[in-house]
Amino acid sequence: MRRALLSLGALGLVACSAAAGLMKGDPNSIVNGLAESTTTVVGLTQDLSKCDQIGAAEVSFDEERTIGGTVALNWVQQGGGLLVDVPTGEASALGNPKTLGVQDTPRNQLHKYLNVVGRNLASRSTRPSLQWTFGVLDSEVVNAVSAPGGYVFVTRGLLKRVNNEAALAGVLSHEIAHVTRKDAFAIYQRTKVDQCKSLAYAKAGQKEGAAVLRTYSPGFINQAYSALQAFSGGALDLNAAANNALLTLFSDEFVHRYLEGGYARDQEIQADATGLELAVASGYSPRGFVDFIGALPPGQNFFAHHPAPSDRVASMKLLLGKTRMASMTSGPVGSPFSPFSQDMSQLPLVPLHDELAAAR
């Protein structure tokens, strides 16, 4: 049906173009105009149809990991870089993470700790086998962010405010939840279709493609368009070299849209709930995360795009109350261990906590 509607629209455009030439009274323009418009409009219709096919395909793990990698690179680059010490030597060694010799510096030790904490949490998630990767961004802003495929980042500014591991576990669990719930996919799928169509419109010289024309060079647009023309259905392999321009087109716009709007409020509240559940299942007190969020000063730009801390705390307390988690703090469970009665002062501080607090 959708294709039929597009075809009807195309016929209408052809008729208008021909009529415009006819009104000018120039026979050549009638012929040329018709021929040009027919080619352009039919081609545009086919391209738009391909865009719909690309958007309709379910996102595979391979695609998720590729787009997630590009998004992660953007968070690293825009977040001031990672607090890691990169090994010197052959660049090719970096491509073998299992054998790469990583220096045992304090900054790298911080990341070892973060990845042990994070991977322990993620192993209890609904996607335990992803290659989960947790990093610290060198930014003073208090924030945490994730990328599809299993990337989670917290900022130096956030770690300075974390007073115990239960709070850190809550933050990481919230971001893990965004990945397991595939919250980015809604934005990404829309982005893919919109960018693909903008590309098609740009090549057809129509105003809907103006943003793409403004942003990218003609050579780049030609590369992306060649990839679109070569697409013949099925899964689009964004990892292929020939599709790199399309990958760039999709990834750049995804990052832009996320930075503009973030996730929906409901997605954030759900990630809080799933994150609490995950932290508790791993052995942490839910109070660690609730208290951390509650202690953020109101009215400042903490956790950009997230609901207000007071709203998040209220939602989490409501959840805790509904599920009677809170009542378990009195210890009716009769176990020698209960996350609900955990003494958070006994949990370790984040390594380099004092150094991070003193920096800058």
């Binding site: 335990p128 099925g234 299942a281 599920t323 469970v333």
Partner: protein
């Protein structure tokens, strides 16, 4: 019994149905989850379960309700409640030259796809000239190198480190 079911459901699936009944299927989360002969601290380990293993839920222990009796592979024993989930791990959609197919979490874990680091496409994206123009700190190329280093740190964490972490957080009770 209803209260026991609630104990499981409230922690592991606040939004899920709470009407868990003996004989219902629940799923393991966490690696090497021990099935113990009893709820005693020094109980014998009867089996070790992996993420996604399905077990039959028989109910919580009356004296230690955070330990739940389960049946699996002909064995009956106790599992710490937080290692159980009401839903199985997510399946993943893998692509191959023959087309895309969904695989369950265990098949995915044993596939090469699960251990993928930054893909060639992502590296190419970060290293392209268009992404490295102008004054940026770090550059996108540096971001690639930093992320690859981070991935090495992540992937080199051992099962022993994760086991020690789990034991530390729970006081050795899981």
């Amino acid at each position: 019994m209803r209260q026991s079911a609630t104990v499981l459901a409230l922690v592991l699936g606040a939004g899920a149905a709470w009407a868990l009944a003996p004989g219902d299927r629940v799923y393991v989360r966490g690696r090497d989850v021990a099935v113990l002969q009893s709820t005693a601290v020094n109980a014998v380990t009867l089996a070790k379960l992996q993420p996604g293993d399905a077990v039959l839920w028989r109910g919580a222990d009356k004296k230690k309700p955070t330990w739940h009796r389960v049946e699996t592979k002909g064995t009956s024993g106790f599992v710490y409640f937080a290692n159980l989930s009401l839903s199985p791990p997510a399946s993943e959609l893998l692509t191959s030259p023959g087309g895309a197919k969904k695989v369950d979490a265990q098949a995915f874990a044993s596939s090469g796809a699960a251990g993928k680091a930054l893909t060639e496409g992502a590296i190419r994206y970060g290293n392209q000239d268009e992404k490295n123009k102008g004054e940026m700190h770090p550059t996108m190329k540096e971001a690639v190198r930093q992320t690859q280093t981070l991935e090495a740190i992540a992937v080199q964490r051992t099962d022993a480190e994760l086991d020690a972490q789990a034991a530390r957080v729970t006081g050795g009770q899981q």
